[in-house]
Symmetry: C2
Subunit: 222 residues, 2 copies
């Protein structure tokens, strides 16, 4: 059985969870406390990060971007990157936008500071970082609105890995109650479409002991 | 004619320059002072980063990882990611290692602080960051040694994008004289093999006015 090592509030792990579901691939989910630096885990991934996917034959695939490319190459019934190279480049550009730029400017500053830092015992949250995260999130919600005003989904006519990457970040930010949906109607409509997909439901069932999500987190009509 | 917008000491731009040469693709190189936020450039890449490749038909491809995947899909005479999906995952894992982890732990702390920050007018270098960069580089050179003790090239039997990504980072670190080659013989031997490739030569001819490289930078027998 395929195993995905993950952390519930890690947006990169969530991206892979949704991709596996969209491609109808069965997997077992295992939490990995990467900060414990378990030797067997470091042997699979010396970078000590999640996610790692262990395929049914035992091959470990490391890094969420690498896992998604691998799954797209091997399981081709349901494509999430598209077919034409220029279209694929646009999907990948947006994945990089959310996984690098939005992650650095928003997700790390909010979820990273408030939840992961504490969980890992890496000290107290920085209030300057949290302020920056709150300021930056508007820009990224506006960018989502800019895209869905012009296209059906973020990268074009089809639901793609770009939507999944963006939604994965927003889902963890929403879990900590940090998405100002009220002032971002278009981004909210787009997220509502994703929230109602069966592949996304398991993320909405995540529950961190001692840190419950806000009530609207699981609500499809939020 | 294909155009590559770049910054000479940007490791991501350098990675693409080597890939284009390895694939024997002609291109014109243009420096882009991204910090000027030129409107025509922002329209191609709202993230205001280099590199951007503009294909002969005018299509802009944004982000070094996206460009490399695109070139590998379209120009298949010379493959740099391999063929088997598990082998490709290993090449991509190492690209992520160098472009994310090494970049964050070493390149940004040294080249970013010393050169790019000043160039962009983003304030004075942080001595704490520079100390961290000097401390962290040994770990990454040791990892390269670990790999080439077991394999001919970083990801396996064949020269790949993993070698190009790692060498691109080391080449900018070497330009600012920050690679402690003396205590890393195996990494040095591997880098010497890359330095002698024709695709790598143009990087060795780069010269930043007012900031010449150390003498050994261009020397193939350093």
């Amino acid at each position: 059985m395929r195993i995905l090592y993950h952390i519930p509030l890690c947006p990169f792990s969530r991206k892979v969870r949704v991709v596996l579901k969209e491609k109808n691939l069965e997997f077992e989910l295992r939490q990995e406390r990467v900060w414990d630096r378990r030797p067997e885990y470091l042997q699979m991934n010396p970078a000590a990060e999640v996610p790692v996917l262990v395929e049914s034959d035992g091959s470990p695939i490391v890094d969420s971007g690498v896992i998604c490319e691998y799954l797209e190459e091997v399981y081709r019934d349901r494509l999430l990157l598209g077919i034409d190279p220029i279209d694929r480049a646009e999907v990948r550009r947006l994945i990089a936008w959310f996984d690098l730029k939005m992650n650095r400017e928003v997700t790390q500053n909010l979820v990273g500071e408030k939840m992961l830092k504490r969980q890992m015992g890496y000290g107290t949250p920085s209030s300057a970082a949290i302020r920056a995260g709150h300021a930056n999130i508007h820009y990224h919600l506006d960018y989502i609105a800019f895209l869905v005003e012009r296209r059906r989904w973020l990268a074009g006519d089809h639901f793609s890995l770009a939507d999944i990457a963006a939604a994965a970040h927003l889902s963890v930010l929403d879990y900590v109650g940090d998405v100002p949906w009220g002032s971002h109607e278009l981004a909210k409509d787009w997220y509502a479409r994703i929230k109602s997909r069966p592949s996304f439901r398991p993320l909405l069932a995540d529950h961190i002991p001692g840190n419950p999500p806000p009530e609207h987190y699981t609500d499809l009509d939020f």
